[in-house]
């Protein structure tokens, strides 16, 4: 096992006009499960493929453990990988597929058989070993791809959107299973996905990527609760963070502990105290749907809104409300009795507000 250190990686494809990865630096600690997440085209897969040795960077280095592997072919990097399309070999049986890496490493026959059997058992493939991939379901093929990747005991495990071809239910089930298996192995893992829920649930840390750079790196709760950029807040979470424009009230008191007032149109809400130096200037306010308190009665600090759509999700009631000139998503209790056209009152605790500079989109 080993850490992966990525330094200043740059890659431009011949056909692309901008950099696929733009000076990316990232360290995956020994035994860590790190998830790269971002919208399509953000460079996450390119980054993974450069670590794998399937793509050569224009500049920068990749190190695995103590070794600089930047110019090393994939087969000498001691890593293994699960591909988005699975890439299991259709002309081989499940057994041959799982044992492929061991065959290449010329592992003795007895050890080969026992290791393949163990990996197959771990992924519940014991009964399928003599079948061909064409006879398997999508989920089973996925298991073969994972078994093939873990059986080789590589230093680093790479996964490129391994769950994206499964249907929603299977994806949820297998996600938990994958987390359990990887935790047991303790292998350093770099995992790429575009699915933010997957990123949150699997990663020890999550790196959110955008346009070839890492927008934010942190634990799932850090990036979820304290997005460093407006983009991160808008990308993570279902529904994504609500944003609206406001102005910090210009009644500039120098007291840094007292909350400030934010005005958004005719609505006034309390804002975080650290904005006191920002008095009189515009901000973009972000607030998560579940952090908005919704009530049928008026009260201190509340402002009114009108329900436009009410969607019961079972566990909760997702409301789309018109709040002044803005549209907000609000997560209400499942039994909340609201119908389109109803008037409700919203409260936004100042500690749940995240404010961004409208010009740079960076958090204040």
């Amino acid at each position: 096992m080993a850490a992966v250190v990525i330094e200043n990686l740059v890659k431009t494809y011949p056909s692309g006009h901008r950099r696929a990865t733009d000076d990316v630096t990232l360290e995956v600690s020994d035994g860590e499960f790190l998830v790269l997440v971002g919208p399509s085209g953000c460079g996450k897969t390119t980054l993974l493929r450069m670590v794998a040795g399937l793509e050569t960077p224009d500049a920068g280095t990749v190190r695995i453990g103590e070794r600089d592997v930047t110019r090393l072919p994939a087969r000498h990097r001691s890593l293994s990988m699960v591909f988005q399309s699975y890439a299991i070999f259709p002309h081989m049986t499940v057994r041959q597929n799982i044992g492929f890496g061991l065959t290449m490493a010329k592992v003795p026959r007895d050890e080969w058989a026992s290791r393949v059997a163990r990996a197959a058992g771990l992924l519940n493939l014991g009964d399928q070993l003599d079948r061909h991939p064409a006879q398997l379901s999508g989920g089973q093929r996925q298991r073969v791809a994972v078994a093939r990747a873990i059986v080789v005991n590589a230093d680093v495990l790479l996964m490129d959107e391994p769950l994206s071809n499964l249907d929603a239910l299977l994806r949820m089930q297998f996600r938990a299973e994958l987390k359990r298996i990887v935790a047991r192995l303790g292998t350093t893992t770099l995992y790429v996905t575009h699915d933010q829920a997957e990123a949150m649930s699997l990663g020890d840390r999550v790196a959110v990527m955008r346009e070839g750079s890492i927008a934010q790196l942190g634990t799932p709760m850090e990036v979820y609760d304290r997005p460093a950029q407006r983009f991160v807040g808008g990308f993570l979470g279902t529904p994504p963070m609500n944003f609206f424009d406001a102005v910090v009230a210009p009644d500039g008191h120098a007291d840094h502990d007292k909350p400030v007032r934010l005005t958004a149109g005719d609505r006034v809400i309390p804002g975080p105290a650290r904005l006191s130096g920002w008095a009189g200037r515009p901000v973009t306010v972000g607030v998560r749907a579940e952090n908005i308190e919704v009530s049928l009665q008026d009260g201190p600090g509340r402002s009114h809104a009108e329900v436009e759509v009410a969607e019961p999700t079972g566990a909760a009631m997702l409301l789309t409300v018109r709040w002044g000139g803005d549209e907000l998503k609000v997560l209400a209790p499942a039994a909340f009795p609201a119908r389109p056209g109803d008037r409700v009152w919203l409260g936004m605790p100042e500690h749940a507000l995240r404010c961004f500079d409208p010009e740079t989109s960076l958090a204040l």
Binding site: T12, Y13, P14, T56, D58
Partner: protein
């Protein structure tokens, strides 16, 4: 980085490039030299001998006639065959197998196959005789019409499969959704064929048309087997000049005419299909 893929691809494609240059460009240059250079420098003597030969014009006329009559028939038949197969008839697999067998038969073999039918004491006259109709000398040079008919039928039999296979392959690329959508909106079968299927088959038809025309320009052994030199074709004249008359220079001149006609046909079709009116409008 643009050099990367090129550097890896070049050693792989280089042998094929050299090979094609050596066997296409080299003989082309030698051929032009052969046709236009005599013992005393440049000459049009070989060209003149070619055009002074009555067989040449007869061959040119026959070749043109064959193409004009054969190709429309062939495309109509191939389209009909493909449409029939699309209806999923019983024994479709067997029919398909029988229909594509001629694909692998040479024009010489096709000529010999139909010779057994059209020859004076052949199977066609045997059947006619059994039906009480007096036999007919189909392949006699005194009956140019039936001689031509025999060549057309033999070529129709041999070479329709190629068009058929290209059309079927093209049809497989046309999603059935379009056809079903058109049916839902009330289009009749022929309207659907005309306005939905044919326009989408255009690339396939284009390829088939170019390929077939050029292959038809090359046909000669079928006529040779059926009629000897009574129904001369252009490529057959190349063969005659080279083997029987032992004059490679005139033979090359005829060959260059065939090559030129092929290029004209290919370019002409491409332009016609690209700029011509959209079908179905």
């Amino acid at each position: 980085m643009a050099a990367g893929p090129a550097r890896r691809a070049l050693p792989l494609i280089l042998p094929s490039l050299l090979f094609m240059t050596a066997l296409f460009l080299l003989p082309l240059i030698t051929g032009v030299a052969q046709a236009f250079r005599g013992p005393d420098g440049l000459t049009t003597g070989y060209l003149r001998r070619m055009v002074d030969d009555p067989y040449f014009w007869q061959a040119a006329r026959n070749t043109a006639l064959l193409i004009v009559v054969l190709i429309p028939l062939q495309f109509a038949l191939a389209l009909a065959m493909a449409l029939l197969l699309r209806e999923r008839p019983r024994l479709a697999g067997l029919h398909f197998y029988i229909w594509v067998i001629p694909l692998a038969i040479s024009d010489l073999a096709a000529g010999l196959v139909w010779l057994s039918i059209f020859t004076d004491r052949g199977y066609l006259n045997s059947v006619l005789d059994a039906a009480g109709i007096s036999p007919y000398a189909w392949l006699s040079f005194q009956h140019p019409a039936t001689m031509f008919l025999a060549v057309v039928i033999a070529e129709l039999w041999r070479a329709t499969s190629l068009v058929f296979v290209i059309v079927v392959a093209g049809m497989q690329g046309v999603p059935r959704d379009y056809d079903e959508a058109a049916a839902v909106f009330g289009a009749s079968y022929w309207q659907r064929v005309r306005h939905v299927l044919l326009p989408q088959l255009r690339p396939s038809l284009q390829v088939a048309l170019i390929l077939r025309t050029i292959l038809a320009l090359e046909a000669f052994a079928v006529a040779q087997a059926l009629t000897g030199r009574n129904f001369p074709l252009l490529v057959g004249e190349t063969y005659q000049w080279y083997t029987a008359l032992q004059n490679p220079n005139v033979a090359t001149a005829v060959a260059l005419v065939v090559l030129l006609l092929s290029v004209v046909a290919a370019v002409g079709y491409l332009r016609l299909m690209r700029h011509g009116p959209e079908p179905g409008r």
